[in-house]
C-alpha cells in the first residue's frame, strides 16, 4: 500500500482489512507532527476524532452556500436547504431508516433525542403506575430523563440486571415487562463494551405491548445498523462519536409515532401556522426541529457517514473486534493479577472495543494521569454511568476505547504505559 491521502478509505466492499495507519493520515489530530506532540487516542467512546473530509465539508458549506434553510427563494438558500435535507437522507440511510426523509429528526445530541421522546411521547402516553424498563448499564442520558419522568408522573422505573458475565440477565424479562409501556435500552455499553442482543428484548417487549427505545450512541459508529432488523420504535445516536461534528444528534422513530407525538420545542420551522390563540404543527420531520437547525453540522455528519461507508462498516467492525481481542490478551498477559477488566470476553457479535479496567492499588485518575504524560488518552471516572459503577462496586474505572484509526501500536503503548504506572505506584 502506498501512503496516499485516502488509501485507508478505499471502498469498503472488498475483503481486505482496513489500514489504520493509512486512515490516520486523514485525521489531523492524530498526525505524528501534531503541535503539542503525537497522541495515542484511546477515548473515542467519549468522542471520536474527525477526518479532514468532515471539516472540509463544513468549511465548504460555510464558504460557498450558507443561508438559513427552508424559507429562502434565492439560490444559496435553496442549495443550503437541499444540502441539509440531503444530509438527513444520507444519515437515515446509514442506519437503514425505512423513510429517512420524514423519520430522521436532527437534535443537538443523542441526549436531546432521548429527552424529546420523554417529553413528548412518554408524557402524553404514560400514566401513573405504568412502568419503564431500563437496564443497569445505562448511560445517564438514557436514565435521567426517565428518572425525571418517574418522579413527575409516578411512573415506576425498573432495571434489567447485569449478569456476572457482564451481559444483561434476561431471565426475568417477561416479569419485568408486565405493566411496562417502554423499554429504554443501550445497544452497547459505553463502560463495559457489552453489546446487547436487542432482538429477543424487542420481541418480548412488543409481545408485552411496550415500545422500545434504543440508545445507539455506542453502536452506530462501530458496526452496520439496520433499523428494520433491530425492530425498535425509537433509535438515537450522536454525531461527535462517529467522526462527525459536535452539536448534532439524531432521533429516528416510526412515522406513525412521530405523527401522533405532540411537538417538543416551539418556534420557527416546526409550525404550519401560528395565530394569536394557537398554532398547527408542521409536517414531519420539521415538526420536531424548532428554530434554525444545526445546518453545517448536518452537512458534516453526512460527510462522516459517507466516510464511514467508504471505509466500510463491516470492515470497521472486523478491525475493532480483532484489535479488542488483541488488547485484552496483551493487557492480561502483561499485567496479570493487577488488572481486572470489567466487561465480557472478546466476541465479535457481543462485545465492542470499549475496555474498562481496574488496576490494583492505583486509582483510575492516577492511571490516566501517568498515561497522559506519554501522550496516551484514556478516560478515568464514572463515564456517566453511576448506577453501573455501584453495580461494579467501584467509584470509577479507567477506560480505553478503540476505533477505526487505532492499531496494535496504540495497544502496545497502553500496555507499556501501564508498566510505568505499576512502577511509580509500586
Amino acid at each position: 500500500m502506498t501512503g496516499g491521502g485516502d488509501v485507508g478509505a478505499t471502498r469498503g466492499t472488498g475483503p481486505e482489512r482496513l489500514d489504520p495507519r493509512a486512515l490516520r493520515k486523514e485525521f489531523p489530530l492524530l498526525a505524528p507532527d501534531r503541535p503539542g506532540g503525537p497522541v495515542v487516542y484511546l477515548d473515542s467512546a467519549a468522542s471520536s476524532q474527525r477526518p479532514r473530509a468532515v471539516l472540509e465539508a463544513m468549511d465548504e458549506y460555510y464558504t460557498t452556500t450558507h443561508a438559513n434553510v427552508h424559507r429562502g427563494v434565492y439560490a444559496i438558500a435553496e442549495e443550503a436547504t437541499r444540502r441539509y435535507e440531503a444530509a438527513r437522507v444520507a444519515v437515515g440511510r446509514f442506519v437503514r431508516a425505512p423513510r429517512p426523509a420524514t423519520e430522521i429528526v436532527f437534535t443537538k445530541n443523542v441526549t436531546e433525542a432521548i429527552n424529546l421522546v420523554a417529553y413528548t411521547w412518554a408524557r402524553k402516553e404514560l400514566r401513573p403506575g405504568d412502568a419503564i424498563l431500563v437496564s443497569e448499564l445505562e448511560h445517564h442520558a438514557n436514565l435521567v430523563p426517565w428518572l425525571m419522568l418517574a418522579e413527575e408522573r409516578g411512573i415506576e422505573l425498573r432495571f434489567l440486571p447485569l449478569a456476572p458475565d457482564y451481559h444483561l440477565d434476561l431471565t426475568d424479562l417477561d416479569r419485568l415487562l408486565d405493566g411496562a409501556r417502554l423499554v429504554a435500552l443501550s445497544a452497547a455499553s459505553n463502560v463495559l463494551g457489552t453489546v446487547v442482543d436487542l432482538e429477543p428484548v424487542v420481541a418480548a417487549a412488543h409481545r408485552a405491548g411496550a415500545l422500545v427505545l434504543v440508545d445507539g450512541a455506542q453502536l452506530a459508529p462501530h458496526r452496520p445498523v439496520d433499523l428494520g432488523r433491530v425492530g425498535a420504535d425509537f433509535f438515537g445516536f450522536t454525531g461527535h462519536k462517529m467522526l462527525g461534528p459536535t452539536g448534532i444528534g439524531v432521533l429516528w422513530a416510526r412515522e406513525e409515532l412521530l405523527d401522533a407525538m405532540p411537538p417538543f420545542l416551539g418556534g420557527g420551522e416546526m409550525i404550519r401556522d401560528v395565530r394569536t390563540d394557537g398554532f398547527t404543527s408542521n409536517d414531519l420531520p420539521w415538526k420536531f426541529e424548532a428554530g434554525t437547525p444545526p445546518i453545517a453540522e448536518a452537512v458534516g455528519l453526512a460527510a462522516a457517514v459517507e466516510y464511514l461507508e467508504r471505509v466500510g462498516l463491516e470492515r470497521v467492525h472486523a478491525h475493532e473486534s480483532a484489535l479488542t481481542a488483541y488488547a485484552i490478551d496483551r493487557l492480561r498477559d502483561a499485567h496479570g493479577e493487577q488488572l481486572t477488566i470489567f466487561g465480557p470476553e472478546p466476541d465479535p457479535l457481543r462485545r465492542s472495543g470499549v475496555i474498562s479496567f481496574a488496576f490494583a492499588g492505583v486509582h483510575p485518575h492516577d492511571v490516566a494521569q501517568v498515561l497522559d504524560t506519554r501522550g496516551i488518552c484514556v478516560r478515568a471516572g464514572h463515564h456517566c454511568a453511576k448506577p453501573l459503577m455501584r453495580c461494579l462496586g467501584v467509584g470509577a474505572t479507567t477506560r480505553a476505547s478503540l476505533y477505526l484509526y487505532n492499531d496494535e501500536d496504540d495497544v502496545d503503548a497502553l500496555v507499556d504505559g501501564l508498566a510505568e504506572v505499576r512502577e511509580l505506584f509500586a
Binding site: 492516577d366 467509584g395 470509577a396 511509580l424
Partner: protein, 164 residues
C-alpha cells in the same frame, strides 16, 4: 509541560500508600462529614472530635485517587491537635495555595511578578503540605486536592457554633 514528578512527589505517594489517621470515630460525639467529587467519584469522609475548640481527634475514610487521599492524610496530620481557629487558617492557606496558582495559570505565566510572594508564605506555613503545590499545574486535579479541605471546612462550621 509539567512532568509527573511535579505531581507525584515522594511524600505524596508515601501518604497515599500509608495514610495517616485512617479510620472512623463514633459519631456522635464526633462530627461526621462527607465530601465527594461528582466528576470522578472521589469520596472523603472526615470525622472530627472537637473539645473546647480544639480538634482533639480526626479520622479519615473514603476512597479516591492519590491526590485526594494523600491530601486528606496530610491534612489530618496537620490539623490534629490544633485549635478550630488554627484549622480554619490552615484551610484558608491551603485553598489560597491552590487558587493563587490557578490565577497564575490563567495568565499563562507562572513567573508573573508578584506571584511568588503569598505562595512562598503559604508554603512555609503549610509545611509538608506544600508538596501538593505541584498539583496546580494539573488543573483538573485541584479539585482532588481541595476535596478533603472543603469537607473539613464544612465539619468545622458544624462544630463551630456549638463549641466556641
Amino acid at each position: 509541560m509539567a512532568g509527573l514528578e511535579d505531581l507525584y512527589r515522594e511524600i505524596i505517594l508515601d501518604h497515599y500508600r500509608s495514610p495517616r489517621n485512617r479510620g472512623d470515630l463514633p459519631s456522635p460525639p464526633a462530627v461526621r462529614v462527607e465530601g465527594f467529587n461528582p466528576l470522578c467519584g472521589d469520596e472523603v469522609v472526615v470525622y472530627l472530635d472537637v473539645v473546647d475548640a480544639v480538634v482533639v481527634d480526626l479520622k479519615i475514610s473514603g476512597q479516591g485517587c492519590s491526590i485526594s487521599q494523600s491530601s486528606a492524610s496530610m491534612m489530618s496530620a496537620a490539623v490534629k491537635g490544633r485549635s478550630v481557629e488554627e484549622a480554619r487558617a490552615l484551610v484558608r492557606s491551603f485553598k489560597a495555595l491552590m487558587s493563587i496558582h490557578e490565577a497564575q495559570l490563567e495568565t499563562d505565566d507562572a513567573d508573573a511578578p508578584g506571584a511568588a510572594g503569598p505562595d512562598v508564605l503559604d508554603a512555609d506555613a503549610l509545611g509538608e503540605l506544600a508538596a501538593l503545590q505541584g498539583v496546580v499545574k494539573f488543573p483538573v486535579r485541584i479539585k482532588c486536592a481541595t476535596l478533603p479541605w472543603n469537607t473539613l471546612s464544612q465539619g468545622l462550621d458544624e462544630v463551630g457554633p456549638a463549641t466556641s
